[in-house]
Amino acid sequence: MNRLRRLGPALLAPVLAVVVALVISSAVMAALAVNPFDVFGVMLDFGESPTQQVTAMVVIVNRAIPLFLAGLAVAIAFRMGLFNIGVEGQYRLATIVAAAAGAAVSLPAPLHLGLIIVVAVVVAAIWAGIVAVLKVTRGVSEVISSIMMNFIALGIASYLLTGPFRGSPEGASIIATADIPESGQMPGLNTIFDVFGLANPPRQLYGFLIIAVLVGVGIAILLNRTRFGFDLKASGMSPSAASASGVNARGMVIKTMLLSGAVAGLIGLPDLLGNTHSYTTDFTAGLGFLGIAVALLGRNKPVGIALAALLFAFLDRALVPLQINDYPSSVVTIVQGTIVLAVVIANEIARRVARKRAAGGTAAPAGGPSTGDGSTGAAPTPPPGSTDQRQGAQA
């Protein structure tokens, strides 16, 4: 019960934000003569046969895996007050190098997979590390430098794809790297559908799901149960207090960005290892930017990010059906964008309400109706979370 009371308000703000965002985007659609209810109907329509429905769910989960990893990568940096906007470039560059490395060698299956993953992680971590080094040594804002590094990474990736890493024949309509051999492909998880007696869909559920879950658990433990996680959070809330208590601020910036980049390196792998087996000109793009939205929506917590990733994946699934039914598929992006804006505003209001209550010294009545009272402990990003408790104690 106590746990529920703590969690309920924390959930209320995002849920309310999603509802507000749906209302706003409906209004926008209606204003432009698109019937919002039809659009939402298409979004919720998973098809008739059990196979179609399970397929739709597999599509959603497959999409949610990279979104989750992207959100996680952004959130690690967010927790320390760093904005890693360069996730996009980090994963694209990492994926193409990993794809080329995987295609170039032939190893036994587990080793081959391991090599591809390690290459991707290292490349992305180095790319993120450059941003950290520039920040620490030259004082360059990581927001600007990581955005510039995005453009540089995309330029290099396009050069590598058309130049040294090109595996497709001259004149092919889609330029691609060479295919990764069988031993470097990750098997799907479709056997679990048989175990649960569900229809086995034609689409493979990515095996990378297991790795993503492990990474999520690992990061959650690292952030919440270790000294490093504590230092990271402390540096985010109050850099001066953290450094006064012996945290090496510069070292933390570099470590955090390396970790964030390392996770970013994994983003492209579910698609690469489970589906495409090569990096192509039309490889999944934009996950880095969506990751920012997912991290904001998930309040920088692994479980929240997983839920947010599922929500975004659910919205993304509607892209194709919307196009088939002749609706502007970009409503999906609008809904996502308004959700993000609504969520950040809702979080802020929730924080302020909590602060007022704490300052006023009035205990929150059980099941209070207002937006997310008591989200004090739940909001990780805004530094004043700590002041709330102090003020509460004084009052």
Partner: protein, 425 residues
């Protein structure tokens, strides 16, 4: 009160330094410009890359510097009032769409209005989130960037897919009229004296002629007006009481509030102007292409932000930054081989830096600079043409290099990026 920053006389640092840096920012800027011209002439003469200082590159540089400069100017308004504006890119995107939409129906004048209006709407949204709701500025800006990309795609799908005038999901029908342009008589048109001089390829003289002809031939009148916005902004922000109030919100909002400055309203005004200027930058991108295209901004809003930081949150400085980035952008668009000549420039600059560092006994830094200089020189000698993927990020790499060399002595507005709540501080 408003002139305090510029009039303090620094202690003398030797006769040569005084000659070069004394006499205030104007003389310093002149020296810098002259030094740059000499450097570029030498590099052009050695490499034989006439595109480096040709009038066509220069006019392209001016065209491309204007959108970046306008975005930076937008950032200046917003950040001087204490609101960090990462959403410039999104507002610029909105501006390009607004310009395309109004432009194909009613011509270039309407495009200007439409773009500014759309950009200002983005600014209003940012102000609402950051000032009224107190959302973290960077978070709000990032959200606006994502949202703007979605909105314009949505609107394009709605208005352009079945449009008899043309266009599609990613582009508008062409803008129905071009803004008028003019050339300086005698010098740049008709007898075209500067053009003749430029074709001679004499050291320095032809380079100067190329630069002058580039900025005086076939220049749109709106471009000149946009360039004039820089001195106008300076006068507005540093020479009027409105400007003083606006800047006080960025330095110490609590103090400003106690003196009766309506802080929230000032911030709203500043951020809306900021969005309008970023949108205007988008309009110029549409003018260059004659059409709205998706991804037309290509990160120029962010580059504008970098130009603002490079320019130390001052109008003159950001203009210099915008010119630099516009130039590197123009070079990469006009000539892939000329970008290789930039390597020679980098080698020269770093060699000078290396010698300076060694003379100052900083052997490690000097050594690194020397190694990179040699590498750049070898690259210049061995590379003929860079592949398109690599060339495409020249402006972004320039931005990054310049920022990492320059960003240590900068001073941002004191309360920049801090959420101000009345009565809570």
């Amino acid at each position: 009160m408003s002139t305090v920053q510029t009039t303090q006389a620094p202690p003398s640092r030797g006769p040569i330094t005084d000659l070069l840096t004394g006499g205030g920012p104007v003389r310093r800027a002149l020296w810098l410009a002259l030094g740059g011209l000499v450097l570029f002439s030498i590099v052009r003469a050695i490499s034989g890359e006439n595109a480096l200082t040709s009038s066509s590159t220069m006019s392209a540089a001016l065209l491309l510097a204007v959108p970046i400069g306008l975005a930076a100017l937008g950032g200046l308004f917003s950040e001087r009032a204490g609101v960090v504006n990462i959403g410039l890119e999104g507002m610029m995107i909105l501006g390009t769409w607004g310009a395309g939409f109004a432009g194909y129906q009613w011509g270039w004048g309407a495009a200007l209005v439409g773009g500014v209006l759309f950009g200002a709407l983005g600014g209003l949204l940012h102000a609402l989130a950051t000032v009224t709701f107190g959302v973290d500025h960077v978070v709000s800006g990032v959200a606006i960037n994502i949202l703007a990309a979605g909105i314009v795609r949505f609107l394009s799908e709605l208005f352009y897919t079945d449009n008899p005038a043309g266009g599609g999901v990613t582009q508008s029908p062409p803008v129905s009229s071009k803004p008028p342009s003019f050339s300086l008589p005698v010098l740049s048109s008709g007898p075209d004296l500067l053009g003749d001089l430029e074709q001679k390829h004499w050291l320095l003289v032809s380079d100067a002629a190329g630069v002058l002809r580039g900025v005086t031939s076939g220049v749109a009148i709106v471009t000149i007006l946009a360039v004039l916005l820089i001195p106008v902004t300076y006068l507005l922000l540093w020479r009027t009481s409105f400007g003083l109030r606006l800047r006080s919100c960025g330095e110490n909002p609590a103090a400003a509030d106690s003196l009766g400055v309506p802080v929230y309203r000032m911030k709203y005004i500043a951020v809306i102007i900021s969005g309008g200027l970023a949108g205007l930058g988008g309009v110029f991108l549409v003018f260059i292409a004659g059409i709205y295209r998706e991804n037309q901004t290509n990160g120029r809003g962010f580059i504008g932000l970098a130009a603002l930081i490079f320019g130390n949150w001052r109008p003159g400085g950001l203009a210099a930054g915008a010119g630099l980035f516009g130039f590197s952008d123009a070079l990469q668009l006009r000539s892939r081989t000329a970008v290789v000549a930039l390597l020679l420039l980098v080698a020269l600059l770093l060699a000078v830096l290396a010698i300076r560092q060694v003379l100052r006994q900083q052997l490690l830094a000097g050594g690194i600079a020397a190694v990179v200089a040699v590498a750049a020189f070898v690259g210049f000698l061995t590379i003929d043409v860079l592949p398109p993927g690599i060339v495409s990020f020249t402006p972004h790499l320039t931005t990054l290099l310049v920022l990492s060399l320059a960003s240590q002595r900068l001073r941002m507005p004191q309360a920049d990026g801090l959420v101000y709540r009345r009565g809570e501080s």
